[in-house]
Every structure is written in structure tokens, then in C-alpha cells.
Subunit: 194 residues, 2 copies
Amino acid sequence: MSRSTEGGSISEARERLLNTATRIFYTEGIHSVGVDRIVEEAKVTRATLYRHFSGKDDLVLAYLSLADQGIRGQVATAVASSESAPDQVRAVAKSITAGIRSPGFRGCAFLNAVAEYPDASHPIHQSVMAHREWFLNTVTDLLAQTGGGPADAAGRHLVMLRDGAMAAGCLFDPELISDTFLHGVEGILHARTA
Amino acid sequence: MSRSTEGGSISEARERLLNTATRIFYTEGIHSVGVDRIVEEAKVTRATLYRHFSGKDDLVLAYLSLADQGIRGQVATAVASSESAPDQVRAVAKSITAGIRSPGFRGCAFLNAVAEYPDASHPIHQSVMAHREWFLNTVTDLLAQTGGGPADAAGRHLVMLRDGAMAAGCLFDPELISDTFLHGVEGILHARTA
DNA sequence: CCGTCAAGACCGAACGTTCTCCCCTGGCGG
DNA sequence: CCGCCAGGGGAGAACGTTCGGTCTTGACGG
């Protein structure tokens, strides 16, 4: 476990910092927590934080980048789990509801972040936009493979449903939200394969 | 214009304060703006703010209450504009897309606020929840009047679509979002009246 | 020797909040 | 008519705390 070979540029303190920041930013928001909290709970000093990140914004960017990687992996796993395009869409939808049902779910990290950074020129806002663009393209491509012509409208429909499910998933019964979402996805699929 | 009779308990400074707070909180978020900004742009002094509100949180609550009143009025107008239940749902949906299309749209004031106040015990969080409960009940009642049995699932579906449309409306082309949303609403209606 | 980290002092600025002082206006009693 | 005063509002200083960020010192280990 202490094997830090292979490149070796990975700092253990940096990892603790990023994990702590991820947990706190996700559950409590960004503007409302100061670097003191993160530094304290990560058991590092301020100097260590600023040695690894250029500032708080950079830490937030790293947090979102980590979340982005996680979701991309999750989608890739879901797509790899099925053969047919419709089932791949269903698998992606199921992975979303799995997140909504999981304890500690606090909504979409990206939607939450963009609510705190409305300025479109801000790097954090742009990071959110980039993630959303990737996700829209990914599900649109997936839907296109189900046949039934251009999937742009269906892709937007699916993303809209996902955004609503993610936003409400921590404000309402997660089971009902998940059921409603999956039902809506089946509707989108049915409209294309019918 | 200076006629301030009739009760006269309405303070002109308070109104300026609340309007300014509404504009700034909605467009820039809550935690990221200080009372100094609001006080300055409302052309009042800090003392005046604290004479009318018990603190910043109270001002935020008043902002959300104002937004709540606005939306309730908007829904009431939409419902009154049509005779049949399906057309009333369409009218409500159109009023939502009108908001999304309007310049300066920054998403749902309540979803944005709750992203900054994840703590369920916080009064601001609870204020958002109360608004959302009212909205869900309202659209569920409306859908129930279209016939087709219990409308709980349809109501949740509609709210989910609305949440997604409001969340993405300021992150993507508002016209495409509006079209996608209205198309989804027609789908919900079609499933009930078919 | 050099990079990493702990520990903590320190900075200027902004935070939410409270304070005092004074002006202005309107109502009321003498 | 006049004097008084209560109260809303403006102006601004100041409160103590926290913010994000920098700096120093010294211990440890490759």
C-alpha cells in the first residue's frame, strides 16, 4: 500500500487533499466552505495545499475533473455491459439511478457547481459546460445507434430527464425519482424502436 | 407618484432593497455576494437593511418568497387562460418556456438556492422544499383533471422534465430546451388522453 | 543536499453585524 | 402657529471573525 513507485510523482498528501475536498465540496457546496476546513480535515497544512494547487479555484477544478473521470468510467462500464444499443442506454440509465439511490447522494456535482458559478467566463463554469457537452454527445451517439434516424432531439430529451432526476433526487424520495426516470427513458427508447 | 397613503406601512427603502437583492441573488448566487453589494446598489445603508430584515438569511427568505408569489401568480394566470385541463397544462408549460426564453434567465431560483443550502434543516432549504411541494401538487391536480386515472406518476414526470429544462435552460440553447420540454409535455398529455 | 511536509504566524480584504450621530418629515398638544 | 418629539432613513465607523493566500522555521528522509 505504501508502494509509490512508477513515476512516483503522486503525493500522498495531495491525494488526501483532493479526496477531502471532493467529499466536502459535494456535500456542503463550494463557496460556503473555506480552505481552512479542507486543510484541517485533510490533515495537511495550508502550505501543502498551495504547493499542490495554485489556489482554491484550482482545487475545485481538480474536484470536478475527478468527478468527470468517475462518470466517464461509469458510463464506459455501463456501455460495455450490454450488446444492443437500447440495452446500453438502459445500462447508463441504471447507473444514474444507482447514484441517486446511494446514501449521501446530493445531486449532480456539476449542476451544483454551476449554480455557484453563473459567470460563463469562469473556468469552473466552463469545466461544467465541457462535461455536459461530452455527456450530451455520448448519449446522443448511443441513441443514434438504436436506429430511428437523427437522435439529437432524443439525446436532449434524455439529458433533460437526467438533469431533472439528478436535481430532484436529493429533494424527494429517491426510489420514486428513479422509477420516474427509468420510465421516461423507456418512453424515449420506445419512441425510437417502435 | 409620491402618494403613499393607504396603510402607509410600506417602506420605499425596503422595496428597493428586496428588488435589488432579488436581481443580484438570482443572477450571481447567494453566498458569493455580500450585503455590502446589495446595500450599495439599493442605495441604502447597512443600518436600513438590518432595520427591515433580521439578517442576510432573512433577506434571502424574502427573495424566495417573492419568487414564490410570482410563480404562483404565473401559474394561476396560465390556468385561467384555458378551459380544458390539457390546455391548462399546456399553458403552464408555455409560461415556463417563456421564462427560459426571456433574457437574463439564470435557471430556477429555487434549485439554484438549494444547491447553496444543502442542509435540510436550514430555513432556506425548507422554503425551497415548500415551494416544490406546492408545485408538484398543483401540476398533479391539473393532470388528474385530464382524466386517465391517478396522476401522481405523470405529475412527477412533468416536474422532472421542468427541473431539467430549468437547470439546462441557461446552459444550452433556450430555444432547443423549450422545444424539447414542450415536446415532452405533449408526450405526457398524449399518454393520458390517448 | 534537496524536496516534502508540519506548524503556525501573518497579511489585506471581505464577511455579517452593530453602533452612533444627524437629518428629515409628520403628527400632536399647547 | 409653534414647539416638540418619535421614528424612518442616511452616512459611516467599527465590531470580531473568517476569507484566500503567503511566509518562515524546522524536522524528516532519499
